[in-house]
């Protein structure tokens, strides 16, 4: 069976097939004979090259998170990722105009008002998350077109906080 995965933005084409009592894994020229055993919902044992590897695995939304030997890998599927990239591209395009918070939190201060001229990197909003203040800054110089949030409001990265009309 063939699979396409994305790890850190790189496409990996691999295959995994049953062979005798175990599996054979291929990626390009690399071939690995392995015995794979699922011992619980989140734990796989992969016996390969004379060593048994303890693998922890769990799904978080669209991604599969895999931990082994002290490292964690986020494995995504290209289709799901393409959608995300598409949305991401939209955001990158709009990102300068539409200001968002990078993490969920509470708006504790609005530092600008509508119509105000702002510099690039000027602090627009202060969002408090886990008791630390985080400054949300302007990605572009411009004029504050609209403010969508109020002090005290809980916000997450999906929410547009402020819209800026860019001006060079």
């Amino acid at each position: 069976m063939e699979f396409e995965f994305l790890v850190d933005g790189a496409l990996r084409k691999v295959s995994l097939d049953k062979k005798d009592s175990g599996f054979v894994f291929r990626e390009g020229g690399a071939v690995l004979d392995a015995e794979i055993r699922a011992v619980s919902e989140n734990t796989l044992l992969i016996l390969a090259g004379g060593r048994s590897h303890l693998v922890r695995i769990a799904r978080a939304g669209e991604r599969t998170l895999v931990a082994l030997h002290g490292r964690e890998y986020a494995v995504a599927k290209p289709a799901a990722e393409a959608e995300r990239f598409e949305r991401g591209d939209d955001k990158a395009h709009e990102g300068e105009k539409q200001v968002r918070t990078p993490m969920p939190g509470k708006v504790i201060k609005l530092c600008v008002s509508p119509g105000e001229v702002v510099r690039k990197n000027q602090v627009l909003v202060i969002v408090e998350a886990m008791k630390m203040e985080n400054e949300v800054v302007a990605g572009t110089p411009g004029v504050v077109k609209k403010i969508f949030v109020a002090v005290g409001e809980l916000v997450d990265p999906q929410k547009i906080l402020i819209e800026i009309e860019p001006r060079p």
């Binding site: 922890r56 494995v75 886990m130």
Partner: protein, 508 residues
């Protein structure tokens, strides 16, 4: 001894206190906000009382609700943990008035050391070395400007009621002063409910060395040696250890005696910590007293063999200390790493969300003080500390290796944590050499990024992901919609003959 104690806190420290109580045969009452219904401390306590909405000011900082919860459940004493009401003298007084024992210092001492400005004045009079700075709370921005000019920049803004870095700001020049004061006041107000701040001369690249002290109600005071807490980011300690690689027996003895004098000058009772800055010339300055159980208390427990929470409870119950200074020895070396819910690869932004899988490390000399469990959703409202990993070994070198290996065994999937960052810290040559100052992270870890993947391990990860896809694809029934991971066939179909629902079963 008390029969029932209420723990006015959440997270790992509430869990720690509940465990101590259990061992002492004391019943426990947990309190929780709406955001903490599923938190671990609520599940471990004998009783749990809801005390209000998610924001801390309406729950964990609401003294009246907490006192009412204590009365309603018949608790005789309140353990405040750290943060929240732990160093709030008004709360200490309220407890006294309401006939509840506050497990912490007496309210007069708490008031004195909690007011950083008055504490400095008292210590100066007692002949304790202090950092140059304002003698009283800042009344106006103009006064601060003048004070900063006479101290010489850089200066540091500190919350008078402060601790844990909240409300602190370094100011490099006059231009930065006004915004730093404003942010400092606001953060202080939200963290401690008191917005007063003051200025101190900023000492560059010091070490942060603190001494643990225990004092009983009969005036008997001892210290339990030092903790070195120099590895800090934004004034948050992230790695602590004891003994400090910077002290020799002579300096250790001198600082220890000074710490005891500080606590006696303050009329302090119960467990507390005297913080010092140690500069490049090995001169030390009194910084402040932390009038609470510290986050990093476990390293002291591991090298002295004394249980600090148990001691706190015994002292609060009026028992004598029963310890002489000569009875207390440092044995071996202990390190602590704080596990925060934050993304070190992305400006350390807080990370909340569901922990989809958790495996905490184990092994000889490994202790994990944790407030989390697999499946739990980390709320956005509180401090990002999730757990603490503490190790003990015969010497510093072995302790560092043990910590590195325990961090490798720590698996938290679903949210970002500081674990990968900590792995690099405890393996850094300068850290291993014991050259740790408060500038360590800034000097060696600015712009830190995770190393590239190990190709062999990554291939195994891909094989695992492929296997997961393959086996998942074979499972009929509800798909991955909704984000919940199936992966295991439903018992309702495989067990056959069982039906879902029916009388007697109810939603959980």
């Amino acid at each position: 001894m008390f029969k029932k104690i209420l723990i006015a806190n959440r997270g790992e420290i509430a869990v720690r206190v509940i465990r101590a109580c259990r061992e002492m045969g004391i019943s426990t009452v947990a309190v929780y906000s709406e955001a903490d219904r599923t938190s671990l401390h609520v599940q471990l306590a004998d009783e749990a009382v809801p005390i209000g909405p998610a924001p801390a000011v309406e729950s964990y900082l609401d003294m009246n609700r907490i006192v009412r919860a204590a009365h309603d459940t018949g608790a005789e004493a309140i353990h405040p943990g750290y943060g929240f009401l732990a160093e709030n003298a008004a709360f200490g007084r309220l407890c006294e008035k309401e006939g509840l024992v506050f497990i912490g210092p007496n309210s007069a001492a708490l008031e004195l050391v909690g007011d950083k400005v008055r504490a400095r004045q008292t210590m100066e009079k007692a002949g304790i070395p202090i950092i140059p700075g304002m003698k009283s709370v800042a009344q106006s921005p103009r006064e601060c400007e003048a004070a900063a000019r006479s101290l010489g920049y850089p200066v540091i803004v500190k919350a008078s009621a402060g601790g844990g870095g909240k409300g602190m700001r370094i100011v490099a020049d006059e231009k930065g002063l006004a915004p730093a004061l404003e942010a400092g006041c606001r953060e202080a107000k939200s963290a401690f409910g008191d917005e007063s701040v003051y200025l101190e001369k900023y000492i560059e690249d010091p070490r942060h060395v603190e001494f643990q002290v225990l004092a009983d109600g009969a005036g008997h005071t001892v210290h339990l040696f030092e903790r070195e807490c120099s590895i800090q980011r934004r004034y948050q300690k992230i790695v602590e250890e004891t003994p400090s690689p910077a002290l020799d027996p002579e300096l250790r003895a001198r600082m220890g005696e000074t710490a005891v004098r500080v606590m006696k000058a303050a009329g302090y009772t119960n467990a507390g910590t005297v913080e010092f800055l140690l500069d490049k010339d090995r001169k030390f300055y009194f910084l402040e007293v932390n009038a609470r159980l510290q986050v990093e208390h476990p390293v002291t427990e591991l090298v002295t063999g004394l249980d600090l929470v148990r001691r706190q409870i015994m002292i609060a119950a009026g028992e004598p200390l029963g310890l002489n200074q000569d009875d207390i020895r440092q044995r071996g070396h202990a390190l602590e790493c704080r596990i925060y819910a934050e993304d070190p690869g992305n400006r350390f932004l807080p990370s909340s969300g569901r922990i989809v899988f958790l495996k905490e490390p184990q092994g000889p000399g490994v202790r994990c003080d944790s407030g989390i469990y697999g499946g739990w959703e980390v709320p956005v409202y509180y401090d990002p500390i999730l757990a603490k990993l503490i190790v003990w070994a015969e010497n510093r070198e072995s302790a560092c290796r043990r910590m590195a290996s325990a961090l490798d065994d720590y698996v938290v999937l679903g949210i970002h944590t500081s674990i990968d960052f900590l792995k690099d810290v405890v393996r850094h040559p300068e850290f291993l050499a014991g050259r740790t100052t408060t500038a360590f992270l800034k000097t060696h870890f600015e712009g830190w990024g995770e190393g590239g993947p190990d190709e062999d391990a990554l291939r195994l990860a891909l094989a695992a992901a492929a296997y997961d896809e393959m086996t998942r694809a074979r499972i009929p029934g509800p798909s991955r919609a909704g984000g919940s991971a199936p992966g295991i066939p439903s018992p309702w179909t495989t067990l056959g003959g069982w039906r879902n629902g029916g009388t007697g079963s109810h939603g959980v």
